[in-house]
């Protein structure tokens, strides 16, 4: 099945293979990686009757186009975008038949950042530590798509559940990203004024954001003192504050250890929507309930 799955006709600015990532190896310096909008990735697979662990393609702002080298069924979720098969409009958020030789074109996101393309049987690639995810921090997993490159497709599920289609409900992304944050473990590295800044001042998503972190523009957090933090483990969603004082929210490809204090942690369930916030989106932090 590997030969002759998909050929990249247009790679877009950044399109990677993603699945649910390789959690459990942080102690070896291996980021978890995986789809940034895990909910959209899972939905795309469910629409096709794939297991949620099947690999999808994750686009960035400009979409991508792939030629099917054999007939397949695809589903596009995540950031809404125009979907075309050989130029003809096709459905977003529903199974779409792609005949052999046809090009599935996923256009630029009309809202959000990242669209997910699932295929019958999933994208195939050599798994690394049990995952096919592209990890851009450490270079594990398949390379980002490039024009002319060929990706394999897995065998379609033998028993597709009847009427397996979810309704692909989609809520427009909020005009302002409201992120719950659990303070700590290093909030005491900041003055009370610094913490007030975090919880009351507005930020904006920086264009320097990527799969490693959502970088923010806005007021710096005031530190309670000088000093360097000894390297320590960094969780997903960590709000790390480098010396210049502007918070970075760690996403799936984040480093596993780091030496800047983590003022708080954004719970994982809030990160899907964070990954869909384009540069310029206003951001506010709010204390998370327990």
């Amino acid at each position: 099945m590997r030969a002759g799955g998909l050929q990249t006709a247009r790679a877009g600015v950044l399109t990677t293979v993603q699945d649910l990532g390789r959690a459990g190896y942080a102690h070896l310096g291996v980021p978890r990686s995986g789809a940034l909008d895990a909910g959209a990735h899972r939905l795309a697979n469910r629409l096709l009757g794939n297991p949620e662990t099947a690999a999808t393609l994750e686009t960035t702002l400009t979409g991508c186009a792939v030629r099917a080298l054999r007939p397949t069924v695809a589903a596009v979720t995540g950031a809404p975008c125009p979907v075309r098969v050989d130029g003809r409009p096709a459905a977003w958020g529903q199974p779409v038949h792609v005949p052999a030789g046809a090009v599935l074109d996923v256009g630029a996101a009309t809202h959000g950042v990242r669209s997910y393309l699932a295929f019958d049987g999933g994208v195939d690639a050599d798994p690394v530590l049990g995952s096919r995810a592209t990890d851009l921090l450490s270079g594990l997993g398949p390379a980002p798509l490039r024009e002319g490159g060929v990706l394999g497709l897995g065998a379609p599920p033998a028993h597709r559940p009847a009427g397996c289609c979810d309704a692909a409900a989609w809520t427009a992304p909020p005009r302002e990203l409201l992120l719950p944050v659990v303070l700590g473990p290093r909030h005491d590295w900041f003055t009370s004024g610094g913490l007030r800044t975090l919880l009351t001042c507005g930020y904006r998503v920086s264009a320097a954001s990527n799969r490693i972190g959502l970088r923010l523009e806005g007021p710096a957090l005031e530190r309670a003192g000088e000093g360097e933090l000894a390297s320590e483990g960094m969780p997903l969603g960590a709000v790390q504050v480098p010396p210049e004082g502007r918070p970075v929210i760690f996403l799936a490809d984040h480093p596993t250890t780091g030496g800047y204090p983590v003022v708080g942690v954004v719970p994982a369930e809030a990160l899907d929507v964070a990954a869909q916030a384009p540069p310029g989106t206003p951001v506010r932090f709010t204390p998370a309930g327990a």
Partner: protein, 248 residues
């Protein structure tokens, strides 16, 4: 800084007990902070022991740091809280310092910063390999890149600062020093460590190997000087090809 962070472990408990401050991390994680690298390594070993025995609540990641162990991804906030309450009372056996069974990494001591390191140490250049290879190291934690271990074991008087001007490219296998740590670059990358040598025979990371990382937290390591005429390509001694690392 330590005093005002409220996390100082001084005088919390007697010897043998985990003098640990436990800080919540998000809803389902904990960061355990200890007073010294030795206590951190001992607690990490104890956590792995309890996990192997099945007496630790399930947790997705156990990530040691320099003075901390991150426990991330408990099944519930309650499970994290319960362990946070219990852990400071643990009796944690101290580490034994035995070098028996240490992994040996052959090193050609020819790094571009050898002279700088010798000057910082106040010794002749040819003393650096002798001093470095005499120590027994332990992987305190990993990070920076898959398979990159931060190795402790060098006496404090041999700790050196990072280079003021980091290199944009450090070759794979380079052996470097920074602060209390020795590290071996698993692959070519930028880096600011003082490079004292090269480990030409050792594959630090191989995703197709189990385990993929040669150096995992807790692994004991010794560096073995290679003679310059032994550093030619090919197996160092008769045997089936270059091994990823050798145990005596």
């Amino acid at each position: 800084m330590a005093g005002e962070r409220g996390a100082s472990p001084e005088g919390r408990a007697g010897r043998g007990q985990a003098r640990a401050a436990v800080l919540p991390v998000g809803r389902d994680g904990l960061l355990v902070e200890l007073g010294t690298a030795e206590e951190t390594e001992a607690l990490h070993a104890e956590l792995l022991r309890r996990r192997a025995l099945g007496t630790l609540p399930p947790v997705a990641e156990i990530v040691p740091g320099a003075r901390t162990v991150l426990l991330d991804g408990f099944p519930s906030a309650d499970a994290a809280r319960a362990l946070a309450a219990e852990l400071p009372g643990w009796n944690v056996p101290p580490l034994t310092g035995s070098a028996a069974g240490a992994l040996e990494i052959p090193v050609r001591y020819d790094g571009p910063d050898l002279a700088d390191v010798a000057a910082l140490w106040g010794v002749a250049e040819d003393e650096v390999p002798r001093i470095h290879a005499a120590a027994t190291f332990r992987v305190a934690f990993c990070g920076f890149a898959p398979g990159f271990g931060y190795l402790t074991g060098l006496d404090e008087r041999y700790h050196v600062p990072r280079r003021a001007d980091p290199r944009t490219r450090v070759p794979a296998g380079a052996v470097g020093l920074a602060g209390p740590y020795t590290g071996v670059y698993p692959r070519s990358s930028p880096g600011g460590w003082q490079l004292i040598g090269t480990a030409p025979e050792t594959v630090l990371w191989d995703a197709d190997r189990t385990p993929a990382a040669l150096l995992t937290p807790g692994t004991r390591v010794r560096f073995v000087p290679l003679e310059s005429d032994e550093a030619q390509p090919g197996p160092r001694r008769a045997g089936p090809g270059p091994a990823p690392g050798r145990r005596p």
